[in-house]
Assembly symmetry: C2
Homo-oligomer: 228 residues x 2
Amino acid sequence: MHRIRVRVVEDALDANNTIARANRADFDRHGVAVVNLMSAPGSGKTTLLERLLGGGIPGKRIGILEGDVQGSLDADRLARLHVPVTQLNTDPGFGGECHLDANMVRSALSEVPLDEIDLLVIENVGNLVCPAEFRVGEDVRAMVWSVTEGEDKPLKYPLMFRTCELVLINKIDLLPHLDADLDRFLENLDLVHPDVPHLLVSAKTGDGVAEWRDWLAALVEERAAVPA
Amino acid sequence: MHRIRVRVVEDALDANNTIARANRADFDRHGVAVVNLMSAPGSGKTTLLERLLGGGIPGKRIGILEGDVQGSLDADRLARLHVPVTQLNTDPGFGGECHLDANMVRSALSEVPLDEIDLLVIENVGNLVCPAEFRVGEDVRAMVWSVTEGEDKPLKYPLMFRTCELVLINKIDLLPHLDADLDRFLENLDLVHPDVPHLLVSAKTGDGVAEWRDWLAALVEERAAVPA
């Protein structure tokens, strides 16, 4: 049984990549830069996005595609900040899909105003395993690791840490109250993804959010410089 | 494509339940009580188990089946506490499976000394979605939610919170440093799983671990009272 299941996953990944390229072509046609934002549940993706959208990125229009198993709690929070937010739920299955794939994103694209935005942030389902396996047509992947989660996580979930272009180290305001060893985390990160950039941030205090904003602004500029 | 994928998952769940019953029969034959321990990554499952194994359960022998995508970091930590620990890795696939299923557990059972233990704790892969979909032959499911993860989690990952017999609320030592609203979490929990028992614990300070130990001891007694 196990061998058959693996084959099905590989076929699904082939189909996924085909659809991801179609999404990519749509994003290119509209000149939209796309970030796939991933993390474990409760790492602070949505709160970081609230911080980002609060100040915005000067001269750039942001849209959000919000992936959740069920409900629209996060989308409701972000829509209050007056940006276009599209909710995508993964729950037609028994317990819901644990990730977004390219086809799910494709099915939502007609609801995303691509001609009115410069940057689309896709907030993936909270999970450190499967979201990393499915490209959705993004330019880059950013992931959030919270300092409360343990320094061993890059070694335990290597694909996620290996396939991202930025690691946001969140909840640094809690460091004085934890035994967390940040140097050890960075050593572990370096073992699975040498030289990946990281930023120290706190969604609670706003520390580091300006640097994340600059990183996103540079991404949008870079995207705009590529001929469609 | 999406419809085909859902059908495959349902077939896999049928096969899973058949194998879970076979596992259950093996556990019954050896009079072993089995807990499926689940949570998001970094909620503190392993540290809680270290606390539990440090004191043990008087008169009861504990074994651990440790599920991880890759590596044996957690198994190595727990083996230091002189209990039988079996490591089960889910990484033959591309990024690794994001959960344990009954067949994976079955493939490891020959390495678990069932005749030398009274309680088997299966530490599942850190993930709030798919582990809840796959029975592995357990008596009960316990899940860990950390107070750092946000009060909305029962609403966003309802199947996990709905199908467990105990919720361990961990990292309560951090409550003075967070905006966490425990009453609101308990209200959300009650919406998806009314009257499920919960315990307030801190793997760091040891608070509440005695109550968890009592809960597990009662489970083992109950199991032993059932004729094989």
